[in-house]
């Protein structure tokens, strides 16, 4: 019979598969000696000489192992004849590679394990992809939670929200500090707006609140070209960035990354992450995340700015409206008061003249009549006082300004007050600013203001109390106008003012002292005088606790 020739030799197939598969295969005997390697294994370990029967853990590891690897599946298979599996991470040069090891037994006819076949699969790229995927999912989740966290924040809460978001990002990326700098309007400075740092990291004293870009040409050009500036290791910065290198090193920073914050193509600031201890190498995936976070911050900061502008515009409108009403009111009062003055003062003149005449011609011994006349005179002068106040209030005042020291002016008023008002059970305390505070004001008008406020304070304490007067300087922090002002604070421990009354306190003719001869003009005149001096007067009060009046005047 013609013996049929095998079309394909099965051994040939096996050899072909074993040599061409992208899995490393080796056969290892119970002495852990390598008996054979397939082609993939030989490619991975070109220096292994099979003829010398090398010990597997000595040649597979770098540096050479001295005993069986703890996870070794071959060792287990050689002992129990079962299939075993392990996953290992092995450093190869600069990177770490991940392998899946499967070991299966090779038995003789009696079933004794004579060797193990170890199959090695390099799963590094799969693991990297998995890690990237996990990072991406976690990062997306974080971005979602950060951006949804901003949705319901009011503009005042946004900075706090940004700090919290920075905390989340810093922790997620394992850096030490996250900062947001905003570019000044002139584009010359970066101003620190937000900062969050891990506990244990001290805010370095030389970490600046303002970065003057002119001092850092390299950084300046990179920032202005809206590049990401990724410095994994500050010490590797070249000569062109020498200033920056020294600056960062003085802040004890090892590694940092700047991400531009851009709105509508225009640079508005930068987001920066610092690592104090470690060199940081960022993956593309992580840089994508930085960009997303930067985008979120730009959006919320823009929203904050827009909301604040809207609010300021609204407040300005409200103020203008109020001023218009006030001006209209004043004009009406002006027209009205001239009329009233004419009609009321003439009869008052007759009454006063009459009293004075009677006073002169009546026999001086008639004390009772004299007393009655005196009372009529006082009442007439009181009525005249109201008309006088009304006229003064309705007039545009002419200021006779002189430069003087605030503390001295108040001292003068205090001596007037102590002379005019009985101060039983009332203690006056002063805490004057140690510096001379010069103001340029109409002396008698400002005296009138403080006199009025002090008399109010004293009258609010019928059972005694303390009036404390404090003067100090404050700087206007508004960037658009730098001005210096002084504040005089007059605080009493009196009966206080109710919320409803407080709202109307500066209205002309509003008084809570109608029964005690109040005209309701005192504070409205005070306000007018302070307004004429470009100052402000504010009153805070709590019923039954006391009142604080603050008068702010520009320093001269």
């Amino acid at each position: 019979m013609f013996k049929k020739k095998k079309i394909i030799d099965s051994e040939e197939i096996n050899k072909n598969i074993i040599d061409n598969i992208r899995i490393g295969i080796s056969v290892i005997n119970p002495s852990m000696q390598i008996l054979t390697l397939n082609r993939q294994m030989q490619q991975w370990f070109p220096n292994i000489d099979i003829s010398k029967r090398p010990i597997c853990y000595e040649v597979f590891n770098e540096p050479a192992g001295k005993k069986v690897c703890s996870y070794c599946p071959v060792f287990l298979t050689l002992q129990d004849g079962q299939v075993h599996e392990a996953i290992t991470n092995t450093p190869r040069g600069d990177e770490v590679r991940h392998y899946r090891l499967i070991s299966s037994p090779l038995k003789d006819k009696k079933g004794n394990v004579i060797a193990a076949i170890e199959m090695v699969d390099d799963i590094t790229s799969r693991i990297q992809m998995e890690e990237e995927l996990i990072f991406r999912i976690q990062a997306d989740r974080m971005v979602d939670s950060i951006s949804s966290g901003f949705i319901n924040l009011s503009s005042e809460q946004i900075d706090n929200g940004i700090n919290k978001a920075l905390e989340t990002v810093v922790k997620f990326l394992g850096v030490d500090r996250g900062l947001i700098f905003l570019l000044s309007i002139d584009g010359k400075r970066l101003e620190l707006n937000n900062c969050w740092q891990a506990t244990g990291i001290e805010l370095h004293s030389s970490l600046p609140k303002t970065i003057f870009l002119g001092a850092f040409p390299w950084l300046n050009s990179k920032i202005n070209s809206q590049e990401i500036i990724n410095i994994s290791d500050i010490s590797t910065l070249g000569i062109e960035a020498e200033t920056e290198k020294l600056e960062f090193q003085s802040q004890s920073i090892k590694s940092l990354i700047y991400i531009p914050m851009v709105s509508g193509g225009v640079l508005v600031g930068v987001l920066r992450f610092d690592s104090i201890h470690d060199i940081k190498i960022w993956t593309n995936e992580q840089i994508r995340l930085f960009r997303m976070i930067s985008g979120i911050f730009v959006n919320v900061l823009e929203r904050k700015r827009a909301e604040e502008e809207l609010k300021n515009a609204y407040l300005a409108l409200q103020r203008t409206q109020k001023e218009l009403i006030q001006t209209e009111k004043l004009a009406a009062i002006g027209r009205f008061s001239s009329g009233v003055a004419h009609e009321v003062r003439n009869p008052l003149g007759i009454i006063l003249g009459g009293i004075e005449y009677l006073d002169k011609i009546l026999p001086s011994k008639d004390e009772k009549i004299k007393e009655v006349l005196e009372k009529i005179k006082i009442s007439t002068l009181r009525a005249e006082n109201i008309v006088e106040g009304l006229l003064r209030f309705s007039r545009p005042s002419e200021l006779k300004k002189t430069r003087l020291k605030l503390n001295e002016l108040i001292q003068e008023v205090l001596s007037l007050v102590t002379y005019r008002a009985p101060l039983q059970k009332i203690k006056l305390q002063t805490e004057f600013s140690s510096d001379d505070l010069f103001i340029e004001v109409d002396r008698s008008q400002i005296q009138q203001v403080f006199f009025n406020i002090l008399i109010n304070a004293i009258e609010s304490m019928p059972n005694g109390g303390i009036v404390s007067i404090k003067t100090y300087q404050i700087d206007n922090l508004d960037v658009s106008q730098t001005s210096q002002n002084c504040v005089t604070e007059i605080k009493d421990t009196g009966i206080g003012i109710s919320k409803d009354d407080l709202k109307r306190i500066f209205e002309p003719f509003f008084t809570t002292k109608r029964d005690r001869k109040g005209t309701g003009l005192g504070l409205s005149i005070c306000k007018k005088i302070i307004d004429d001096h470009n100052g402000t007067i504010t009153i805070e009060s709590e019923k039954d606790k006391g009142t604080i009046v603050k008068v702010l005047l520009p320093l001269a």
Partner: protein, 126 residues
């Protein structure tokens, strides 16, 4: 005896003022309540000083004053203006003793008025 002319449309005011001036000083006083006749009254009475209300119907106090100042025989008569519609501060600012005019806000206190009158009369005839 110095002669004082009071020109004011408020008759009762003039009456009381006249009584007061006569009571405190050695003055001869006359009253004019019709501002249209004020100039005639000055011509006939020839006062040493005039007390003149600013706001009057028909002819105002300031019109009367400028008429008097424009005439050679009356231009040196000192005038005390009385007005109800300025504050005491403003009255003080407008007063000019040397220029022959003085402002007082109504209601006036006699003492102050008499001081002003005496000051004028001594300035005029030292």
């Amino acid at each position: 005896m110095k002669k004082i002319l009071i020109i004011d449309d408020e008759e009762d005011f003039c009456f009381v003022l006249q009584r007061n001036l006569e009571a405190v000083g050695d003055f001869e006083t006359e009253v004019c309540i019709d501002s249209t006749k004020a100039i005639d009254k000055v011509n006939s009475f020839r006062p040493d000083l005039i007390i003149l209300d600013v706001m009057m119907p028909e002819v105002s106090g300031s019109d009367i004053a400028s008429e008097l100042k424009s005439r050679e025989d009356t231009k040196n008569i000192p005038i005390v203006f009385l007005t109800a519609i300025i504050t005491n501060d403003e009255a003080e600012k407008r007063s000019n003793i040397v220029g022959g005019q003085y402002f007082l806000a109504k209601p006036i206190e006699i003492e102050i008025l008499v001081k002003a009158i005496n000051k004028f009369l001594t300035e005029q005839n030292p």
